[in-house]
Symmetry: D2
Subunit: 356 residues, 4 copies
């Protein structure tokens, strides 16, 4: 079968012929119907420092966001059958470590990640453990189905634990309008946030316009507004500051801003990754503010998937999310997709299984 | 000034002249701009058994749901000024009891209730303690402003504590389509419930149609469907049962149904009051189901008010809620309002301050 | 090997020779070092109505509470090795149902229970799925190790979710002093409850004395005190009522009492099972009280096991728990153990693997 | 009456005669029976940079930790009477700001602090608003009564919100063994922490020994152990890392350590204040670790007071806490008390009302 394979420890990857995998036990074989490019795939494609350290073995079939059709099931599989449509939860957990056994499977100590530690889904067929398969409704469009995992990340950032009272009717700022930031805005709007503020780097007009469409009440250009942002958001919240900040940019200036605009006793979720250590006034940012800070990594398995499913049952929400997909291209043109993402003029890029 | 006063311990009340009240300390004087009839007012008007036991002193000016304009403030008032528009949180808490001092002021041990224990708002002017005044935006229509308190009850039933992960993307059933049940449906729709099911007694077509308009995906006639409801809701939830049930009917059959349709580990909020004790299979309803049950009384002060304010910032939501108000009549016709509610063909009835 | 086997659908069971089981995949073979009798075992032994309905197939090897040594592991086992000491989480979950995938594995929809649905541990050797094995410290005495599962139930009743602020420094009443009730008292004392009240049926002096030893500040004889209990507990809590009630008796009078002694906004955990439906004043018990009620079934996997492990690291706590074990007898005398439990003069009965 | 008064904006303070204050409305007059020195008092005494910026008006009577007897009550006081023994919650909240109205009164936007913004308790008599008085049991020793406020801080650091499942049976590290750190160890031991680790600067042998007495399983000398601490704590937790870290030192090295020793998905509470901004690897410390971080400021009003009261009902706990009080001196020797604290050889210093 055809697959996008990183053969050497260097940039880019090849479209090449590989063996059709054999399945056993609780594994399933899935025919890829649609795939989607994640930031992680871009890092691996670019072979940046992170990828060089993180990728242990090549050759490696890339990709983990997808939707496909079950074409074969292992002898111990009980919850799926041939013909089912599925997507993949990328995190393959061991099920027995401390984290797995205390409802934190998404941060398993012996985690393997699809398309990073094991062969991924940018291929005609992919193997999934039954435990990692998420059964889609047959009516769900495969394009939307292929981006449920990052949508789950957006949900996890908005709702990191079992309490979101701090969202309903409250003011929320989303710092950073990349694809997951945009998804988060749509999620916040759908789950009853009172006012949604968004900030973006400003170079990417496409994304700033999308932020508005996703439901942001106010979209601020971080580059142009600079320090005014703090005053603007205070004024917009009766001087209280915002109740919740979702930091999705990875910009050191944004994380400092996050705490300045926060109301005392408010909450910050950190999803964006930073290039280097950040200097931080813990006294005024966190301690005197009695702030709560959540680090966001992955998404709860499978609480967030059920939430995504429920949210997607709203046609308005689904239609909004669709707008984040700016590129739909044949998988053979994956290099074009990478280029579009680098240009920062793209939202989400999905890949159709057209190999020839 | 004019007021609707219960003078004698018997049904109905008089529209009569009373003295304009004097204020002091942290009190404010408010000119009533709009009032709304609550079920409690109906009980007092009817002078039913509950009212006979509950009302300690007459004469009593009735009413507690309202919106008005501050016309005078006491010398110790700091957070309000003349000209402000306010509504009232009805529960006057003592601030020093065990419940007040542990974030449960809404169930204060020495609670007084406006229009029940103290003179209420069905009058040209009303006194409020500063602590009970909720400042409205000047732009908020007084009709909507006057029904924020029951809307807070709907929010409290949906979100009884600081976690509502069980709503976002989840399936929720609302049993009973009275005004607060209808409001709850609108709230659930606004805060991202995946699927909303509603059941109503069936005699009241107006309410069943309103349930649909509020956002219910499926409205079932409890009278006609009977036992089928359980099967219907199981089928509609992939056999899992619903995640959350809001019991807002006070019907013994509904409370039993609530637990039958509930998914294991799910949650039930009980708001509807029952005419008498209910027989209950605790083993299968609650224990084996690992269910969580919340009794709902009042609404958190003032968490729910901020949530209501935030939700009302959505024009769609506000417009939906407006539809629940089926009658807007002069306050001098309060007896007509009571009649409309008794007929069960009314949603919410609001009273304009037209006394002559 | 020898085993206690229910061969026929009738009372009692036989000690008999059965085949040594074969293991595969993720299974392990464990040599029983100590077992303990649970109330469920008594029901199956007695062949009461519940057991007749619940037990699907015979012959069935009984028992699920135990400690043993791993003597063989399947080829896919990664987290255990031969020589490890283990106990069993009895609930064998499917891992893919809605409940399993939303952190509620302990109420899996397709649950199988060891010694109920599959052959149990009252045998020389027992099979466990790796997922259900709990690795014990080599220093942990096998007697204590064998009763960790019911101890987990006690923890789950005290701490049904991720918040127990209602325990630390607060007043808690435990209604019913059976083995799990006694364990709960010890747990409450260990986790900082302010005052612990216990009530017992009164016929069992042994248990009432144990309640005192476990850390109850006040032990009341439900039979003799009757209605005075409510007054006594109100007086003992400055008139506030108790913050938390753990209902562990299954007595209808106790469940009504539970809500009468509860402070408004307090919490009730229901563990005890009732012989029949209970009549219940929902208005005053739950709704006006703004009470929270948790049904307790099983124990969270494996959060409660880690908690039990941590609690047992305190020598005082471990020594207290040991006192609940009133009988330690050879497994060949299991019939004597059943008799002792029926007499209500026993705490916990453990079985040593002495077959001949 | 006599009082310790900062008359000029410079170091130290005078013992001097001032007028007996007049009370009105909801105020009470309290005769000081015992006071205690807080770190804040030391800053004000020293007149360090923080104090120079924070103190708005002199003359100012110092002090806020105390126990005393009510000798007069204002005409609107309802919950107290002459002869009651009280302590003070130092935070005087306005009751109407956003934070006060959403169960976060301890971080009121218009907070005034006793002995900082208003005249304090290092005097023969002090004024308290009724809302800030905490009624002590008549049996409670005034020495213990006078340190309930910092004890409440320790509780708040351990239990910042309504969920502490992460304490019961879990491993907890306390970084820093000042008075509140020591109190936190005692609290953790009392509320069922599985294993308690403590680290201290090492110069203060008194405190390191106290840490052991408070219940720490392992006390590490941060100075001598250095980087070994991380390895030691990993080994002591089966390689998992600790579940909870309470940072109570304000040392930049400690805060970095806090996150290194933390298990993925664990929790850090930050109480210690830092001299300057800290450089922070947010990716590995917080985000990939899916950590939760709480800033701790004050203590919840009055949830923590009830908890403290309940904990102090255990004689063992009370006796442990007493050991933290290393100095009991006449208030006229307050300068000696300040010296003892500067020496770092003191635990808590209490002041008896001996003025002459």
């Amino acid at each position: 079968m055809q697959a996008i394979v990183k053969r050497k420890r260097q940039p880019e990857a090849e479209i090449t012929e590989v063996d059709l995998p054999n399945i056993e036990g609780r594994q399933i074989l899935v025919e890829t119907k649609m795939a989607s490019i994640c930031g992680t795939d871009v890092h691996i494609w670019d072979w940046n420092e992170w990828a060089q350290n993180r990728i242990r073995t090549v050759p490696l079939t890339m990709g983990h966001e997808f939707a496909g059709k079950v074409v074969e099931i292992g002898e111990d599989v009980t919850s799926l059958q041939v013909g089912d449509m599925v997507s993949a939860e990328t995190h393959i957990a061991d099920g027995t470590c401390y984290q797995c056994r205390t409802d934190r499977m998404h941060i398993c100590r012996n985690m393997k990640i699809l398309g990073v530690d094991t062969d991924g889904v940018f291929a005609e067929y992919a193997i999934l453990p039954e435990e990692n398969a998420w059964k889609n409704s047959l009516e769900l469009d495969s394009v939307i189905a292929s981006i449920q995992e990052p949508l789950g990340n957006a949900v996890q950032t908005a709702l990191p634990r079992d309490h979101i009272e701090d969202i309903v009717g409250k003011s929320v700022a989303v710092l950073g309008c990349g694809p997951i930031g945009l998804m988060a805005i749509a999620v916040l709007d759908e789950i009853g946030a009172g006012r949604i503020f968004a900030t973006g780097g400003g170079r990417n007009k496409v994304r700033m316009e999308l932020a508005k469409k996703m439901g942001a009440d106010l979209v601020l250009n971080a580059r142009e507004e600079g320090g005014n942002i703090i005053k603007t958001l205070r004024d917009a919240t009766d001087g209280n500051g915002v109740d919740v900040v979702l930091e999705m940019s990875g910009a050191p200036s944004a994380v400092r801003q996050a705490f300045e605009i926060l109301t005392p006793g408010g909450r910050v979720s950190l999803l964006g990754l930073f290039d280097k250590p950040v200097e931080f006034d813990l006294n005024n940012s966190v301690i005197f503010k009695a702030a709560t800070v959540y680090g966001i990594s992955g998404r709860r398995m499978f609480q967030t998937w059920y939430q995504v499913k429920g949210l997607l049952s709203s046609p308005t929400f689904k239609s909004k999310i669709s707008q984040i997909i700016t590129h739909r291209i044949p998988i053979r043109d994956v290099a074009e997709g990478m280029k579009a993402i680098h240009s920062r003029q793209a939202g989400k890029v999905v890949l159709e299984p057209k190999w020839n």
